[in-house]
Symmetry: C2
């Protein structure tokens, strides 16, 4: 670790900015705040700093420019692409102490917060105001808004509510150069030139650090109903979605295959929703504040049965049942974690999903007939989570080596269908070698040029997203 020691000058200057007790260099802290949820890259941070204001962040960034030291912005460290791993001696700027909710604007349905606010904290605050923050996903209990913004987080309600981007009305950022910019200032309508805040959303902390956020809230959803349907083949999934969406605004449309269901049932915490075993399942959710909506849903359900698209199904009769049905989908990741799953987070146009899945399945079946493939995902927005499970008789090493080969096949198919190699997890370090499968060489050159505009000394999260 000696190679990553900071000079005493820099350490003293950091302490001057944030205070003695807000700079950590002990081994435990360097390990803890030096990494995110990925495990492929070892953390090697040189220090962890905990600023409490935008001005302190600015002072740190200016210091880093002056001394040519790299910075890694850090939020809830739940990322899955190593976008917040300090791998090369970076100073980690943790937003943990910038977790204040600053001001609520009821007429605007908007709240101004510091970027270190945790997703669930925002969700709870919204609820206390009789409002709702709809971007939701498994790590909501620890992910921070700044990190959600850096990766444009999605999750399980995108079909109705869109991505994080859709809820951002303004950002305060410190650029890599050390300028404080207040971008868009909470306005819905503002046609005064380039929408700079949209570069920082999904920018993975490589252009600057988001310190404050103006974020939109929505009214609370009313009387959510959940349906789980068993489906005979993948070709039936799309007509089901189409039939429901034509009449009812869905708040979620998720799918998973039989293997995923089986693993959740084996896990032993939830029960089978109905007796019939089916190759695929879909989960639908929608608001039903009026009785006729339920009637309509039942009519569509019966129509789907008649058409042969649905073999069996169940609708929640209570909030508890609704929550249990959701667990069939939400517990998948946990239920398969013992099988060392090899994960991919990809998206294509919904139109292409059936062909895409068939092609990947056939590649895996032909090359690795002993591999089990767990498919699930947010099919209502073309986002698929492909999880290949490790056969028990294969070593981790051999399994990962084979999966690396599968990886390039998968990304070639993604490329063929004009899809995305990372739908919602970001690029970070893990997907960086594959960026060209989703972005053209020219696009990447423009991205590099933009990076240099905001961060000319390349001190801001270097090595993530782009190589120089």
């Amino acid at each position: 670790m000696n190679s990553f020691l900071l000079s005493l000058d820099v350490l003293d200057a950091l302490k001057n900015i944030v205070g003695e007790n807000r700079v950590k260099t002990d081994a435990d802290s360097l390990e803890n705040w030096g990494k995110d949820h990925t495990k492929y890259f070892a953390p090697h941070a040189s220090a962890i700093v905990f600023p409490s204001s935008t001005e302190q962040v600015q002072a740190i960034v200016k210091l880093a420019n002056h001394h040519a030291v790299a910075l890694t912005p850090s939020g809830g460290r739940t990322g899955l692409s190593a976008g917040a791993v300090a791998h090369n001696g970076e100073i980690v700027i943790s937003l943990d102490k910038m977790n204040q909710i600053l001001e609520f604007f009821p007429a605007d349905r908007m709240v101004r917060i510091q970027a270190g606010v945790v997703t669930e904290q925002l969700q709870d605050y919204a609820q206390e105001q009789g409002m709702y923050y709809p971007v939701d996903f498994a790590s909501a209990g620890s992910s921070q808004l700044g990190g959600n913004i850096a990766t444009n987080a999605g999750g399980i309600k995108v079909i109705k509510y869109g991505m994080t981007r859709n809820w951002i009305l303004g950002l305060t950022v410190v650029t890599g150069k050390g300028d404080i910019l207040r971008l868009n200032k909470g306005m819905i309508k503002n046609a005064t030139g380039y929408a700079l805040h949209h570069l920082f959303i999904g920018g993975e902390g490589t252009l600057g650090i988001v310190t404050e956020v103006e974020i939109r809230l929505d009214r609370q959803p009313q009387d959510l109903q959940v349906l789980v349907l068993g489906v005979p083949d993948f070709e039936s999934v799309m007509p089901i979605m189409h039939a429901f969406r034509k009449e009812i605004d869905l708040t979620a449309f998720e799918f998973f295959n039989d293997l995923a269901m089986q693993k959740v049932l084996d896990h032993g915490l939830v029960q089978r929703p109905f007796e019939t075993s089916c190759p695929f399942y879909v989960l639908l959710e929608f608001e039903a504040p009026y009785e006729p909506v339920i009637d309509k849903a039942m009519q569509i359900f019966e129509h789907c049965i008649e058409q042969g698209w649905v073999l069996d199904g169940v609708m929640s009769q209570s909030l508890e049942q609704a929550q249990n049905l959701w667990r069939l989908r939400e517990d998948i990741s946990e239920s398969i974690s013992a099988f060392t799953p090899y994960k991919n987070d990809i998206s294509v146009l919904i139109t292409h999903v059936p062909d895409f899945i068939a092609e990947i399945d056939s590649i895996v079946a032909n090359n690795y007939p002993d591999f089990e493939t767990c498919w699930f995902g947010h099919i209502g927005d073309g986002n698929l989570h492909l999880n290949i499970l490790k056969p028990a008789n294969l070593s981790n090493e051999d399994f990962f080596a084979k999966c690396e080969i599968v990886n390039s096949y998968v990304f070639e198919v993604v490329n063929k269908f004009d899809g995305s190699i990372s739908a919602e997890h970001g690029v970070g370090m893990t997907k960086k070698p594959y960026l060209e499968f989703s972005r053209s060489e020219q696009e990447i050159e423009y991205m590099k040029a933009l990076k240099k505009v905001f961060d000319p000394n390349l001190i801001m999260n270097p090595g993530k997203l782009l190589d120089f």
Copy 2:
């Protein structure tokens, strides 16, 4: 006009690219395609070209770089900020011949179009597919999607559907450098680095030209109901909006003052909605596919009456009545056009709207007691149209001179409330001198640096938005 003559080399090269009959240099064409809906800047185009493909646009841009000739991208020419006026001998690239709807993706609720498609053409096409394109405004009959994207057009349904930005899933652009980029390719979820397409949305054609668009459609609205309410004072407008939005998803929430209503009635094409004359009016629209929604709306209406927020009101009983109620709002611009209105298109947080209006009213009343002020706008998103009417006894010249003074007062108040000097019309040339009232000096420097990344020779719509 001689100073704007192109060399014969350039003219021949243009004809080689698009064909002899797709290059116009006659005086009528130069006048017609050389301007948009503004009248403050005289058109001085050197040629008008009508490409039919992205590749032809690319060839023109490369030619322009080679010969250092400036280009002005041109759509439906309905802009109100002189963003599409060829004022200094530019070659106008008209998208008029790129008006094809290319492909419909029902499962994705998406359509791929050329950027010269007219808004109404897209709306009609959507309707034929049983779908809906919700961005709507007065000039929908002639504005083109490329232009809507360049200014991030808003309009009357933003409270529910958002701005044009919200519907864009992908853009094909030719950058100022002459590169063709296919950005985001129609995906809902794509976390692979900087969202370059969001720079071109609202970029006013200064970074490049949008040639093709992947655009999202929505389901058709069901059983729209319209309410017009008379309000005793501006302070009551916000509680009304709050009371309705808490229970019902509004598709519009517009407001106008008594003077605006009076001018529309004087115009003689629509009737007074109810007898009571009120200082302010609001128009609400919402979907009511189920009877209980109407009941709920009536309950809220009665509550508003009891609270003294509403003096009188009417709800549409038929589609025709709904359309007539809408005309009370939509006919304002036409009804006041004879009074040479001095227009401003501004936005602030909804929270600040009451104080903002009071402050502007008091400035105008104190300084120009003989001026009449017509307020209307999309109050549900903080967007106000301030129209000052010319007193009959004042010459145009004197009136405009006085309004110029009002202008700087207005923008100082906008600045004080952290608002936008252009909510939906863009900056172009008319608002360029005032950009600093909404964007900081540093932001403007970053915008200039971004411009140079995409358009290093500054050939793309120069003189609009930014000065170099």
